[in-house]
């Protein structure tokens, strides 16, 4: 792994938010006093007139963004995913999602790997929460290149968007000429035995698991689903028709997230055997990344073991 080139999502995020703040009059970076963690501090330093500090008060922060957007501005509200999706949920629902206001919400430090902070700061429900809000777009990029492509596409889109980011570095999956489109899945690897449909940070682990499974003679297709809402249903049905054995994979609870979204589509359009990989219905804890991935079943090793057994059980 040490030879794989990686880049922290928040570093690319930081570069792009500064670029947007400099070049788009509408764009403001709005902070909940976490700028030096989320890395929007770069805007405070280099373009201070486009930086709005709202202090440690997320409810006010998101409602302020609603007011700003109503006057034609395009605020990017950036805080930890856990606080954004839960502490400010009612404000987001009533004042951003329902009136479809143009607020971009960035949940930094999503998922399980949040830098030794534990269950108060881990966000394992944010996809589930945001995808049930009418008018909301929900996106979880997989690497730094995709972070940039997503941000630029989202900045051109008129309406509320939730972007789910991770704290740490991930291997490059995409070339710099990658073209992201809201609502479109990307097939990263073709296969015929099993389909993994993954999102966000779990995609790089899914690709690695697919490589390992190939060594064991199992041909795995990896469909990366950066946009969880609106969902690329056609891509789900197409890969299910190809392999007839589907796995969903996400650094999120198995309840309500991508796994549930895939189950809904398959159940209604093409009933197919499904295995959901994600955090089981329980709270996690603070620990180093690799140990968390192992304990909560998201490591490459766990994926290989689970998918092998699944394939042996259900193969035709």
């Amino acid at each position: 792994m040490s030879t794989v080139k990686k880049e922290a999502m928040r570093d690319r995020f930081s570069e792009v938010i500064l670029d947007l703040a400099k070049n788009d009059d509408r764009v403001y970076a709005v902070d909940g006093d976490l700028a030096n963690s989320t890395k929007i501090d770069i805007v405070a330093m280099e373009k201070p007139e486009k930086f709005l500090q709202m202090g440690i008060a997320e409810q006010n922060m998101l409602s302020v963004c609603s007011g700003l957007a109503s006057t034609g501005l395009q605020p990017w509200a950036v805080t930890f995913a856990a606080f954004l999706s839960k502490r400010a949920l009612d404000q987001i629902q009533v004042q951003i999602a329902q009136p479809k206001l143009n607020v971009k919400m960035v949940g930094a430090y999503s998922g399980l790997l949040t830098g030794l902070t534990g269950k108060t700061h881990q966000a394992l429900e944010d996809i589930a929460i945001f995808r049930t809000l009418a008018n909301m777009v929900v996106i979880a990029p997989a690497d730094s290149v995709e972070v940039e492509k997503v941000m630029r596409a989202v900045n051109q889109y008129d309406g509320p968007v939730y972007i789910r980011l991770a704290r740490d570095a991930y291997p490059y999956l995409f070339e710099e000429d990658y073209e992201f489109e809201i609502g479109k899945a990307v097939t990263l690897r073709e296969g015929k035995d099993v389909s993994i449909i993954s999102t966000g940070t779990q995609t790089s682990r899914s690709v690695e698991a697919a490589e390992r499974l190939a060594e064991k003679g199992i041909s795995v297709e990896v469909v990366h689903m950066p946009t969880i809402k609106p969902l690329d249903e056609a891509a789900i049905v197409a890969t299910a028709k190809k392999t007839n054995l589907v796995v969903s994979a996400e650094e999120h609870s198995i309840l309500g997230g991508l796994g549930s979204a895939v189950a809904e589509v398959l159940g209604e359009r093409y009933p197919t055997q499904l295995l959901r990989i994600g955090v089981e219905d329980r709270n996690a804890e603070s620990a180093p990344n690799e140990e968390l991935l192992n304990k909560y079943g998201l490591s490459v090793e766990h994926m290989v073991t689970k998918i092998s057994a699944y394939y042996e059980k259900y193969k035709k």
Partner: protein, 276 residues
């Protein structure tokens, strides 16, 4: 001022008629807010009913969204919609939802209904004006009961940090909430006897007035315009159910529906006020 008094009485009558017709809605809070709303929409604010979404318009947010009927009637009397449309209040497909929906009707500058959120949105609008060198002003009405929501004070804190002197918060201090506290199980306590000190402590310019006296209301809004470097809170001391003797100060009229007889008596009282 006589014209404003007459307009306010007309608005109160239409509120009662609409609630009676719909068989649903609130009365106490809307009635206490009427004089402030009348002054804002007929004297203070730079608005045009023919061009309700104009980007340079002054903004108003009814943070106490359950008093929506008072705002709808004010907008109708001001010419934003025909009075006849008030009959659709709370009905299916109506622009006049139980709580204001900003996507449906010009003149509704923010969706509200979940208490405590409006002032923050007002702060966003006031900042939006400053950042874009716009001269429009933002007015937000909150309830005294509503001010139990912590978010009001988050907004108050940040608003004074940014010194948004283009933001005015009117506290409809009608001294009753839906149920609240009681010491004797007969009368209900005010949410807070006098909110003035609290707003001062948060760095706001505070003006305390009789919220039913148009001369005092006018003086307060002028003083707010002249206040630089800080936001202004107008503590409008009002009476819940104002204008109808048997509704005034009675918490049961928070959301009670008048009978035919009660409506007749109430309208008769308000008609006398119009003749004055």
């Amino acid at each position: 001022m006589d014209t404003l008094t007459q307009t306010a009485a007309e608005i109160r009558k239409e509120i009662l008629k609409t609630i009676h017709y719909a068989g649903a809605g609130h009365i106490g809070g809307p009635m206490s807010a009427v004089d402030i709303l009348t002054y804002l929409y007929f004297k203070e604010m730079n608005i045009n009913p023919e061009d309700g979404w104009n980007e340079h318009r002054d903004r108003f947010i009814l943070s106490k969204g359950h008093s929506a009927i008072a705002l709808y009637v004010t907008l109708a009397v001001r010419g934003y919609m025909p009075l006849e449309e008030l009959k659709t209040f709370d009905a299916l497909d109506s622009r006049l939802q139980g709580h204001p929906d900003m996507t449906l009707l010009p003149g509704l500058d923010m969706s509200t209904g979940s208490l405590g959120q409006g002032l923050s949105a007002g702060l966003g609008m006031a900042l939006g004006a400053k950042l874009q060198n716009e001269s429009f002003r933002t007015y937000c009405m909150v309830g005294d009961g509503e001010s139990q929501e912590g978010q009001i004070w988050e907004a108050a804190d940040v608003a004074s940090k940014y010194g948004v002197d283009n933001l005015v918060c009117i506290v409809d201090n009608n001294r009753l909430q839906q149920f609240g506290w009681s010491n004797d199980q007969v009368t209900r306590n005010a949410p807070l006897e006098d909110p003035s000190e609290r707003w001062k402590a948060f760095g706001w310019h505070v003006i305390s007035i009789d919220g039913h006296d148009f001369e005092e209301i006018e003086r307060a809004f002028k003083e707010a315009r002249d206040t630089k470097g800080k936001p202004t809170a107008i503590i409008a001391n009002t009476i819940k159910g104002k204008g109808v003797s048997f509704m005034e100060g009675a918490y049961l009229w928070h959301s009670r529906i008048p009978t035919d007889e009660e409506l007749k008596d109430a309208l008769a009282e308000l008609n006398k006020e119009v003749v004055l």
